[in-house]
Every structure is written in C-alpha cells, then in structure tokens.
C-alpha cells in the first residue's frame, strides 16, 4: 500500500538522463505536466481565438471571458500603466491555474506543489518588479521603504521593517502557493488512505471527507492561482505607481 502521502510529490526521470555540463536537465514527470499544462492552455486559447464570430461559441467565450477577467484584474489593481505586462500576468495566471487544476486529476503530478517551481516564478517576478521600479523611478524607488507621515523617531525601525517585508515577498509568494498545494494533496491522500484501511465498514466517513476536500481543493487551486496573479499585480503596482 502506497500509504506515504508524500510519494505523490516524487519527481522521477522519464526517458534517458540528459546532462548539460554538470547540470542534470532530464525530462521528468514535472516537465511532462508543465508541457501538458502549457499545451492545454495554448490549445484552448488558440481554438478560442481562431474564429471571430459575433456570437462566440463556447470555447471562444471561455477564452474571451478569461481575457477580460485578467485584464480587469490588472487594470483594477495596477492601473493602466500595467498594460505592457498583461501578457506576462495572463500567462502566469493561466500556467499556475492549469498546473493546479491538472494536479487535481488522480495519478497526476502537481507542478506547483514544488517549492523550486514556485520560487523560480516568484523570484523572477520579484527581480522583474524591482528592475521595473528602478527603471521607472531611478533611485527614487527607494522611497518605497520610507512611508510618508511616520514620526522621525520611528523611521529607522520602519525602514528596516519595510526592507525585510519587501525582501520576503518572493518567499511568501512562493511558499503560499507551494504550501497550499502540498497540504491539500497530502490531506486528500491521507483521507484516501483511511478509506482503504478502514474498509467497507468505516471507510465511509473519510470517503465523505475526501469528496468534500476535493471540492475544496478545486476552489483552492483556482484561488491560489488568482492570489498569485493578483499579488504580482500589486507588486507591479508598487513599482509603477510609487505611492509613498
């Protein structure tokens, strides 16, 4: 019995070992599901943008609703200046959403349940946002760490706190997504294990929990993708429109 709920997160090689210099870039199950998610996104949105009918069919409606949803999210949180970054945030949202959703299918692998994946995304966002901030405002971007209207006595303390909170952004962003995904899948696996070990007599209770958890996890999968994208928008907003 595969009772260990952590085995589902194992990464294993598919096919031969590929090495570039000292680095192992073998094709793994994680790579497979990244490709599946990307291909699914591209397929759906390609189908949804192929024909331009006045009355959209279902797939076109889906693509267009997603487009307006993300574009509204960006314009609401980061304003009109964030328009050039729309494609990135759209890709990010869709990628995280599809990886989360594909992870909900039994026997699949959840790409976003790995800290390294979410951390690379978050670090890229963090570095990108910082670069944009310095490019837009020069050294004036450092004013982000000095909130206005703070007494001079508290200023050193506040600045330190602001810097720490700014630097912890990539960590909090990546850990939030990874921990949510991992915890949800672990919990479902544990309850699934209970169903097997309690059998026909007592298995009904954990089974019902499992069913309820599946619904919850689908909600979490969407919500975490949304949170990831909207936090990116908020960070971008800080860089584009310096408020302090």
């Amino acid at each position: 019995m595969a009772a260990n709920p952590m085995t589902q997160f194992n990464v294993y090689r598919i096919g031969p070992e590929i090495k570039v210099g000292a680095f192992d870039i073998s094709f793994t199950n994680a790579s497979l599901f990244m490709i599946i998610s990307s291909v699914a996104i591209l397929l759906i949105f390609n189908l949804g943008s192929k024909k331009n009918s006045l009355l959209p069919n279902k797939i076109q409606l889906l693509a267009e609703l997603s487009y307006t949803f993300v574009s509204k999210m960006i314009s609401d949180t980061a304003g009109s200046k964030a328009k050039p970054y729309f494609a990135f945030i759209f890709s990010l949202f869709m990628f995280v959403l599809f990886c989360n959703m594909f992870g909900m299918i039994p026997y699949t692998f959840t790409v976003t349940s790995h800290i390294i994946v979410t951390f690379v995304l978050a670090a890229f966002i963090f570095i990108g946002v910082t670069v944009i901030g310095f490019m837009k405002h020069g050294l004036g971007y450092l004013k982000l760490f000095v909130p206005s209207g703070v007494p001079a006595v508290l200023l050193p303390l506040i600045v330190v706190i602001e810097i720490i909170s700014y630097l912890s952004r990539p960590v909090s962003l990546s850990v939030r997504l990874f921990a949510n995904m991992m915890a949800g899948h672990t919990m479902m696996k544990v309850f699934g294990g209970f169903v097997i070990s309690l059998g026909i007599v007592g298995g009904w209770l954990p089974l019902s929990f499992s069913v309820a958890l599946t619904g919850l996890e689908i909600l979490v999968a969407f919500l975490q993708a949304y949170v990831f994208a909207i936090l990116t928008c908020i960070y971008l907003n800080d860089a584009l429109n310096l408020h302090h």
């Binding site: 009772a3 090689r13 680095f23 994680a30 790579s31 990244m34 990307s38």
Partner: protein, 196 residues
Amino acid sequence: MIKKIYFQLIFFSFLFSMEAFSAESGGMPQLNPEFWISQIFWLTLTFGILYLVLSKLILPKISANLESRKSQILENIEAAEKQREDSETKLKDYEEIISKSRLDAKTIFNQAREKALKDINAKREVLDKQIDDEIIKAEQEIKILRENAPDKINKIAIETSSELVQKLIGAEINNSSISAIVDDLSRRNGDKYYGN
C-alpha cells in the same frame, strides 16, 4: 459495539500510517535537490514558450476579436438608431400625407357639394321660371276666359230672355231692347256674379 470497532479501526489505521511515514524516510521530496536544475530548466522553457506564443500570437488575436465585436456592435447600434430615425421621419411624412389628403378630400367634398347645390339651384330656378311662365299663361287664359264670359252670358241671357218672352207672350221683341236691359242688369249685378 460497532462504534467501538470503528474507533479501534481508526486508531489502528493511524498507527499504521504513522509507521508507514517513518518507514519511508526522506521527508518531503520537494526538498530533494536532485531534480531542481531540471525543473528550473523545463519551467523556463515551457513558461517561456507559453509566454511568447500567448503574447505574440494568441492574445493580440483575442484582443482584436473583442475590439472588432465591440465596434461591430456599436456600428449596428448606430445603424439601428439611424434606421429608427428614418422610420420616424417616414412616419411623420406619412402622417402629413394622410392629413393633407384628408384636407384635400374635405375640400373636394365641399366643392362637389357646392357645385351640386349650385346645379340644383340653377335647375330649380329654371323650373321655377317654367312654372311661373306656365302659371302666367294659365292666368292669362283664365283672364281671357273671364273677360269673355260676361259677353257670352249676356248673349245667352239675351237669347234665352227673347225666347222666353216669345213663348210667354207670343210677341217678338227685337233683341236690341233686351240686350240693353241685360247690359244694364249685368252692369248693376256683375260684381255679385263674378266677384271682381
């Protein structure tokens, strides 16, 4: 009894899973750096391709589709508005025509009536004239007759009185003396008989 068995089962299964966890040591596979480089590489590759294809090919198309739909709907609304205005002006024209033709019909009717009245009056006048003529003629005839009547009556009176005298007396009296008496009588009593 069943409850007890149920809780025992849960307890044992907990024990079992605890043992299972500890048996397969290594903890979280996420913290095993063996495939980190591979994951970073494949993430960059797939996400990069996804971003490029979406931003260069697909998203502009969706945006263009949305824009064209928006403009088409606006155009349609404009066209509908224009058509509505057109129909309103046409309706106004139609109403104008209707009211004008109603007016026309009224005037035509009035004219016709006037004409008919005129005709009728003319005809009546003609008829009246004819009737008047006839009446005048008849009156004249009557007048002539009336004028002639006393002479004839006088003549008849003279003749009858001469014959009466002849029969009664057996003598012949000449007519001139009788006619003088009759003329005198009729002159005296003529008003009584003819009502003139």
